[in-house]
Symmetry: C3
C-alpha cells in the first residue's frame, strides 16, 4: 500500500522527532541525577554517612535490572513472533515503543514519585520502574499487533504510560505512605491484567494460523522462556535489600515451577487433539509470576507460593476472565490488609 | 496416532497433577525458609552477628544463579533443536521436565544435605543445587529425545533426581565431611558423564538428518553458546566467597577457550569433507567446562586450566568413551587427594 | 570445492594447534593470578588491609562481565546472520575467533598494562578487557564475512589484537598516566570505528539479498538487541566503583533510547519504500552506546546523554563517513581535555 508507505515515510519520522525532542526538553528542565548517581551527592554520602562504594544501590539492583531489561526487549519482543506474519515487525516495533516508553515513564513516574525541589531525581530504581511501565505498554501492544501503525503504537505508549502513572499515584494516595513498593508492583500488574483482557481475542486466533509455524514457535519460545526465567528478578528488583529480595526470588521460582506443571496438564486436557498449545504454555510464563507479584516478599512459605502458582496455572489456562475476577478480589483484599497494617 | 493423543490427553494431566500435589504436600510438611530467606531468622542474624543486608548470600550468588538458570532452560532447551523433527518438543518438554526436577531435587537434596530439626531449610544455594540436578536430568533427556512420551520423561526425572541425591550422599559419607562442595560438583558431573555416554549414539545420527538444517543449527547454536558462556557461573556458583569464586570463573574461562580451539581443529581433521560438525562444536561447550568442574577453585594456574581444556576438547571430539575413562581415573585420584587433605 | 576442503582439513587444525600451544607456553611463562584471584595474595589482602570477601572485585564486576561476554558471543555472533548465506558460519567462526582473541589479548594487554616482576597478573578486569578487544576483532570480521577462510580470520585476530594493544599503549603514554580507563575505552572504540569503515560496503549489499529473509532477520535481531541491552554494562564494566558505574549505566541507557528513536525516524525517511531497514536498526544498537562510550562516566546529565544518542542515531543512519569525522574531532577534543585536566 503506497498510502501506508507515505504514512510511514513522513509521519513516523515526524512523530519520532517530535516525541524525542519534547522528551529531551523535559529532561533538560526537570531531570537530575539522584544521590547515588551524582558524583557530588554520592561523595557527600560517602563522607557523611560512613558508607562505602559497595553500599551504592547499583550493586544490589543492577543484575536484576538487566534481567528485567532482557524481559522487556527480548522476552516481550519475541513473545509475539509466533504470529508468523508479524515476526520481524513484532520485534522491531517492540524495540521502538519500549525505547520511547522507558524515557516517557521516567518523566511521568518521576513527577508523581520522586519530584522534590522542582526536580526529578533518578537512579537505578527509576530505571527499573521505567522498564516495568514499558512492560505494561508492550502487553497492550500484543492486543493490537498487526492492526495498527507504529505511529498509533507510539501514541498509545504516550497515553498508557501517563495513565499508568496517574493510576499508581491514586493507589498510592489511598495509602498512608510507607512502602510504596507493593502498590507500585500492584500498579504494574493491574496494567498487565487490563491489557491481557484486550489481548486475549487476538491470541485465540493463533489456532487458525496457516501453514508451518515450526520456527516461529521456536522464536516465540525464546520470548516465553526469558520471561519465565527472569520473573524472579522482575518481582524482586525493587523489594527491600536482604532477606526480602532473596525470599521474593524464591517464592517466584517455586510459583513459576508449579504453574508450569499445571499449565501443561490443563493444556493437554483441554486440547481435543491432545497436543500442547503454544499459547497455553506462554501463560505458564506469566501466571505463576504474576500471582506472587504483589505478595512475593511476604512470608508466603515455599509451599504457599507453589499453591498460588499451581492455581494460577490452572485458572489462566481455563480462561482469563476468571483470573481477572480473582485479581480484582485480591486487589480489594490487599488494600484492606495494608490499611490494617498501617 | 490417536492412541498417543489419548495418552497425552488423560495421562499427562494425571501425572502432572499427581506429582505437583505430592510435591506441594511434602513442601508443606518439610520445607522452610533458611536463615537468609526467613524474615525473622535473617533479622536475628543482622542484630546478633553484626551483619548488614549486603552480607546476605543473595548478593554473592544471585547473578550466578540466573546464569545457571539460563543454561538449564535456554541452554539445554535449545541444544537439541538441531534434531530438526523435535525442535519445538525439545524446548517445551525440556521446560516441563526442568520445572518438575527443580522442585523434586529441592526435596531430595534437602533431605540429604540440609535436614535438621525435622525440616529442610532452603535458600539461594539450594536453588542453584536444584538447577544443577535438573541439568543432569536434561542431558539424559537428550539420550531419549523423540523416543519417549512426556509422561516417561517425568518419571525418568523423578527417578534420576532421587538416584542423584543418593549418589551424592554416598560420596559425601565417604569423606570426613568438611567442604562438601567438591563432592557436590563431582556428583553433578558424574551425572553428566553417565548420561553423555547414553546420549552419544543419538547425536551421531545427526549426520543422517534429512533436508535443510540451516535454521535448526542456528537455534542449536543459541543453546550451545549459552552453555559455553555461562559455564564459569556454573562452576563458581557455589564455591567459597572471594578469591575462590573469581579464580573458578577465570580457570573455566580459559579452559573453555582452549577447548574451543582444540574442538574446531579436531572437527576439521576428522570430518572427511573438511566441514565443521555441529555436534563436535557442541562438545566444546561442555568439555572445557566439565574438565575444570571439580578443580576450578584450585590454584590450577591459568595455563593449567588451558591445558586441561585443550585436552578435554581433543579427547571429547575423538570419542567420548576415552573421556569417560579419564573421568573415572580423575575421580579416584580426587577422592584420594581429598582423603589425604583431611 | 575440494581445494577449500583440503585447506580446512589440514591447515585449520594446524593453525589452531599452533596458536593454542604457543599461547599456552606464553601463559605458562608469564601469566599469574593477581591479588584478587590468588588464594595467598587475597588472604594477605584480607588480613593486612581489613577487607572482607565482599570487597573482592568479583562482586563489583562479574555481572557486567557476563553481559559483555554475552555481547561478544551472542551479540556479535548473531548480528551477521541476516546475511542469509553465512548464518551458521557467522556464529561458528565468531565463536572460534573470539575464543582465540580473548586468550591472545590477555597476553598482549597484559604485557603493556599489568606486567611487573616479570609476570602478567590477571583477574576479572583483564577478562573484561580481553572481551573488549575481541569485540574490535569481531567487527572487523564482519567486513570480510564470506570472503575469507577461518585460517585467515585467525591470523587477522592475531594481528589486530597485537595492533590494538600497541595502539592503546601509545595513547596511554601520551598521557601523564592516571586514569587509563578513558584511553582504554577510547582504544576500544577506535578499533570499532576503523573496522566499521571497512565493514560498511558489505552491509550495504544486504539490500540486494535474494529471497525470503524472514527468519534470518529475526536471528539478526537477537544479536542486535543483545548488543543494545548490554551496552550499559559494556560502558560501565571497568569504570570506578560506586556512582561512576551507576552513572555510566544510566547515561548509556538514555543515549541508546534516544538513538533508537532517531534511527527509526531516519530509516523510514531515507527508504524509498517507507520500510524499515534492518541494517539501520542495527546501527541503533551501536551508535548511542558508542557515542557515550568515552564520556559515560562523566556528569553528562541524562538529557546530555540523550542529545548525544539522538545525534549519533541521526548521523550513523545518514552515513557512517560523517560519524567517522566527528569521531576524529572528538578524539582530538578529548585528548586536549584530558591533558588540560592533568
Amino acid at each position: 500500500m503506497s498510502g501506508h508507505a507515505t504514512n510511514l515515510r513522513l509521519k513516523l519520522p515526524a512523530i519520532c522527532f517530535l516525541l524525542q525532542l519534547f522528551t529531551i526538553i523535559l529532561f533538560a528542565v526537570f531531570v537530575r541525577y539522584d544521590q547515588e548517581t551524582s558524583a557530588r551527592l554520592w561523595h557527600e554520602e560517602l563522607s557523611h554517612h560512613n558508607k562505602s562504594n559497595r553500599d551504592n544501590d547499583f550493586y544490589f539492583r543492577y543484575p536484576s535490572f538487566q534481567d528485567v531489561h532482557t524481559m522487556i526487549f527480548i522476552g516481550f519482543g519475541f513473545l509475539m513472533t509466533f504470529l508468523k506474519r508479524y515476526g520481524f515487525g513484532s520485534v522491531a516495533f517492540n524495540f521502538l515503543i519500549a525505547a520511547f516508553a522507558i524515557q516517557w515513564s521516567t518523566l511521568i513516574q518521576g513527577f508523581f514519585h520522586s519530584f522534590h525541589d522542582g526536580k526529578i531525581h533518578i537512579g537505578i530504581e527509576s530505571m527499573i520502574n521505567a522498564d516495568f511501565c514499558s512492560g505494561a505498554v508492550l502487553i497492550s501492544f500484543g492486543a493490537v499487533l498487526g492492526k495498527t501503525s507504529p505511529i498509533q503504537l507510539l501514541l498509545m505508549a504516550l497515553f498508557e504510560v501517563t495513565l499508568f502513572g496517574i493510576n499508581e499515584y491514586i493507589l498510592l494516595s489511598a495509602k498512608d505512605a510507607g512502602d510504596s513498593m507493593t502498590i507500585h508492583t500492584f500498579g504494574a500488574y493491574f496494567g498487565l491484567m487490563v491489557s491481557r483482557v484486550l489481548y486475549r481475542p487476538q491470541l485465540d486466533k493463533s489456532r487458525q494460523r496457516e501453514g508451518s509455524v515450526y520456527h516461529s514457535d521456536l522464536f516465540a519460545m525464546i520470548g516465553t522462556i526469558y520471561l519465565w526465567l527472569f520473573w524472579p528478578s522482575f518481582n524482586s528488583a525493587i523489594t527491600a535489600h536482604g532477606d526480602d529480595q532473596q525470599r521474593t526470588v524464591m517464592n517466584t521460582y517455586f510459583s513459576l515451577a508449579a504453574s508450569t506443571l499445571a499449565t501443561f496438564a490443563m493444556s493437554a486436557l483441554i486440547n481435543g487433539e491432545g497436543k500442547l498449545d503454544m499459547v497455553h504454555i506462554q501463560n505458564a510464563a506469566l501466571a505463576g509470576g504474576v500471582m506472587v507479584g504483589t505478595s512475593g516478599e511476604m512470608m508466603l512459605t515455599p509451599f504457599g507460593a507453589m499453591i498460588a502458582g499451581f492455581l494460577a496455572g490452572l485458572v489462566s489456562t481455563l480462561g482469563f476472565k476468571f483470573l481477572t475476577v480473582t485479581w480484582v478480589l485480591r486487589k480489594v483484599y490487599r488494600v484492606h490488609t495494608h490499611r490494617g497494617q498501617v
